[in-house]
Point group: C2
Chain length 318, copies 2
Amino acid sequence: MPAIGPDDNVMVPAKIKGILAPVLTPFDQNAQPNVGRLVGHCKWLLENGCDGLVLFGTTSEANSLSVGERKRLAEQVVSAGISTRKLILGTGCCSLSDSIELTKQAIELGSAGALVLPPFYYKSVPDEGLFRYFGSLIDRVSDERLRLYLYHIPPVAQVGFSLPLVRKLTERYPGTVVGIKDSSGDWENTKALIASLGAHDFDVFPGNESYLLAALQVGAAGCISATANVAARPLQAVFQSWRAPGAKELQEAAGRVRIAFQKYPIIPGLKAVLAKALNDELWKSVLPPLLPLSSADSEKLFASLTETGFPWQQLSMR
Amino acid sequence: MPAIGPDDNVMVPAKIKGILAPVLTPFDQNAQPNVGRLVGHCKWLLENGCDGLVLFGTTSEANSLSVGERKRLAEQVVSAGISTRKLILGTGCCSLSDSIELTKQAIELGSAGALVLPPFYYKSVPDEGLFRYFGSLIDRVSDERLRLYLYHIPPVAQVGFSLPLVRKLTERYPGTVVGIKDSSGDWENTKALIASLGAHDFDVFPGNESYLLAALQVGAAGCISATANVAARPLQAVFQSWRAPGAKELQEAAGRVRIAFQKYPIIPGLKAVLAKALNDELWKSVLPPLLPLSSADSEKLFASLTETGFPWQQLSMR
């Protein structure tokens, strides 16, 4: 237990460990978020392998929503009874004012944390510029309940967190900058983050399960993976049993599901699978610039998934 | 004159041609836009070589502002008397709702057009996804006064407009999709755009002046360049005289100014020059993740500019 930190004085939910889904956002035909389906999906995820949820990650198409749309949706999800102790909210935007507004809301709602992208419009920005951005965010939010997770996803954002920057932020803001989602897809980077910071009550979550077992063995806090939207159970099995003899086989099973999804754009692919399993066409909808998966690719994806042995059709049991 | 188009029936300012500055946004110490300085700068630009202004381009740090901040600032600039006939507003965001809101405002204010970035969070998105994004934008704005300029800046946005996509958009929305700012820095691309679309009353503006003369010779509508914030006059000289015998020398003079700036980050560099020339420290301010230019680099930039022969100190005469 850390001896010093905001946790001692203010009410903040315990840090979430384990398997988290960056929750897909269902949309109506008119491109409006469908709250009912979203809440249903959140509940199902928490009952089917997820220890926690991230609302408004990349998989959620969060950056395709306005700040107002995100705030309303977060309120609606919490009002509908999804436990804020299980909820991390994505709050990072290009604009510092927007990130401040969303991060304040995440705290006010009593969520377990804020997952924050770096500002991603300008490229090749200096680490010092990112440090000032995050420093300004934390200073202007000015709330000791803030629990900030860094969102490192260079394949999409193109702007990321170097190891020295992560270290500088955790040293300057201990107890506030408490973890990272590492979606670099680079095992060496994840390993280096854990080795360098894992001992400081800093939680490292790989952004996918391809090396989940190896990461847990060296001290990862869990995993935040898009595929958890349909296949959290195989991930939870790895998380529960990583010290046990059969762990390698569990990792392989989870890995096969990942590989099936990786052949297609992941967000449309996950939505196609949900639409099929739930017999609910609406789940296919994505916001532009994304496109729904074609029928041909959907069929191929379903076949690949079936080959992995994962009972994806049982999603319909919700 | 085009025989068919929204221009015949509704009030829209004439299309701007020539030299446009993507206007720098001055900030106070508290990171708030400084309206007084912005309006002063706009007026000065229009009196010193600019045919028009783009509020909220990359150079304006527009994506570092919230939608609300942008809307307020646009209103304040127009209220202060900057002619909307001279004004194009940057309105493209990652979120379609945000782009719709800003584009509607650009029309309501009576501006000469909207310059729209593609949604830039997701990378490697299909052309069809971008086509649907712009189609939805135009259909949902649903206003025949809309005059939309595509903002192609792949070095920053990473997402851009292929030539087939530009052609498809202009064919589907003639009289609405009326031009492009091509900040690819790729002369071959600019040339291909003009060759393919220039005859269709479609205006191609190179995003910098490095090949302005060559572009004008094949039919470019002008140029929208960051450096116009301090050095519009040399660009205006090229624009006025591109058919004249001395055009090559004028282009070379403009090119030398560009080269001086290119050694440093362009936004902090331009602001350092304005701060120095106007003896106004506040102009140095940038929003994170950008950093102000260091004193050492500023001195080197000033020296390089002086070497070009461009009288940058005379900016103080405003």
